[in-house]
Symmetry: C2
Subunit: 325 residues, 2 copies
């Protein structure tokens, strides 16, 4: 059995706990939290909730610690820190800072003799894998990534910070015409506005100025100003009834040509009922790989690019060759 610890018990931590149940060779050893452990009720009977401080001696009986924190402030600190003490997996997703994060985690993991896997999930993660495979196979071509239809938690948060907004949910939606042009092999140059639209469902506080809120949303720099944005005002009851989930997904495409100019298209897509639950499933599969690599004596920081696919599976290589090849 691969013994998994989870650090942090938000949406992602809960998702990891559930994903472990779908893998008979894995068990949840403990949940670690910065909150008062007695205040954290988890879904699995008989598994302890412990303070993060318990990890510090490096003596917890874990094969892999999955760090379920946020990329803004948690992971840049936690992942290097705990990579010295345990095999770790994180879902660091600030693309621009991946090289720095990798360097810090790699040094710590090598020092501690552990394996660390960073930036795991679906983007970065499965989408990255598909970009890499497609680029290697079609050296002459163009890459496209579209996200959605799905809930952007960052954009939903940005709307909720506006004065007069009680609650909100924002969906990122790929533009079908852009997807169709890419699929047709036209290799279009697409602006931000041409690739995605943004759809907002907003609950106003009593007496709020709807027109002012709408204007503030659609003109918000970075978040909305570069997109065609629609704003819909609804009641809290409607929001709760119709927009409670965290669905997401997207498309990775590469179109290119062979040396004779023959067109080729590679497309990968995800349609996810729950973004955090799916991300968790990816993290758990890669935790298995990390445990194995560590058993083989590996150390240092890895990404999904460095891990042979067979390491993710509970089945032995002969079974995989017979049934999935």
């Amino acid at each position: 059995m691969t013994r998994i610890g989870i650090l942090g018990y938000g949406n992602l931590g809960r998702g990891i706990e559930l994903a472990i149940r779908q893998n008979a060779d894995m068990e949840l050893a403990a949940v670690y939290t910065r909150r008062d452990p007695s205040s954290v009720k988890i879904a699995t009977d008989g598994v302890p909730v412990k303070p993060t401080a318990d990890l510090e001696a490096g003596t917890e009986a874990l094969d892999v610690l999955v760090i379920a924190g946020g990329s803004a402030t948690d992971l840049p600190e936690q992942t290097p820190h705990f990579a010295r003490l345990y095999n770790v997996v994180d879902s660091f997703d600030t693309h621009a800072h991946i090289p720095d994060h990798f360097a810090a985690v790699d040094a710590a993991a090598i020092e501690g003799g552990h394996v660390a896997l960073i930036s795991c999930g679906w983007d970065p993660g499965l989408f990255s894998l598909n970009r890499l495979y497609a680029n290697c196979i079609l050296p002459e071509g163009a890459d496209y990534t579209f996200w959605g239809k799905g809930v952007s938690q960052g954009h939903s948060d940005a709307i909720r910070r506006i004065e007069g907004v009680a609650d909100a949910k924002q969906y990122t939606i790929p533009v079908e015409a852009a997807l169709d042009a890419v699929r047709a092999g036209k290799q279009p140059q697409l602006t931000t506005r041409e690739k995605h639209t943004r759809e907002c469902w907003v609950v106003l506080e009593e007496g709020a100025d709807a027109a002012a809120v709408e204007r503030e949303i659609v003109e918000m720099p970075n978040y909305f100003a570069d997109y065609d944005t629609t704003v819909n005002f609804i009641t809290q009851e409607e929001l709760d009834a119709n927009h409670a989930g965290l669905p997401h997904g997207g498309f990775v495409l590469r179109t290119g040509t062979s040396a004779t100019g023959t067109p080729m298209t590679i497309e990968y897509s995800l349609k996810l009922g729950s973004n955090p639950e799916f991300t968790s499933s990816v993290l758990v599969a890669y935790a298995r790989a990390v445990a194995r690599l560590s058993q083989e004596g590996a150390a240092g920081c890895k990404t999904v690019f460095d891990i042979a696919p067979a390491y993710l599976s509970p089945n032995d290589p002969a079974t995989l060759r017979a049934h999935l090849l």
Copy 2:
């Protein structure tokens, strides 16, 4: 530079020659043929065409020999034979015989201290990778593979062997309704007939009995009897003008649920203007990986499951992390 030899110069051999041109770190060292080398005109100036016998001493200056033969009789003999002498890659695609082929090639490659990669291409190959990744991430779900729209060379050959047929091309076409049901997460049980249709374009010999030919096609066991098959009679000129290429493609889907029952769909698809040219591009990318693994001291038989994605790329890991992760 990675020096590639090609054994066999049919559609696949020609495709490999062309794919090498799209990879600046690779060069074609020689083409080996069982025919009279002077009768084989290749597309690359200054590269020798040699008899297969020249390979026997194991002294050809090659980093990888890509074996471009057929799965029925060539590869079961050639790949184990040459894996003793060189690093090799093949596209063995008889799924049921992969375990036997692996065992024979593995023994030979270990004996010779070489790396062999078998069953590379898109199915087996990229489709296999997607089945594996999806199975590891969604342990509870169902797999579907659809092929087409594309030319099945085996089925086209079967039609051409019928008395009264001068020429023919057969397209395998996925049934849209079945694809839609799978995408909707319904996990349907699909019969052979429900998944694919077969479309035949047939040129009759003068005086042939069209009705008899059509009946013989649609009733042919294994090839057509289990499918809804349409037969169209056309002239040789029409066949040459409209059905000259070898397009192919297909879809790999896995639909499943998280532990809470939330639906998830993973879909991968290829739309290929030329089946042999795309297969060749995959073989060349994996030849790079084989050369590297050999340089690292590896030996034995591998499949796409055993090779970390980064090995396929000409770019270094830091570049990949910065640009594709």
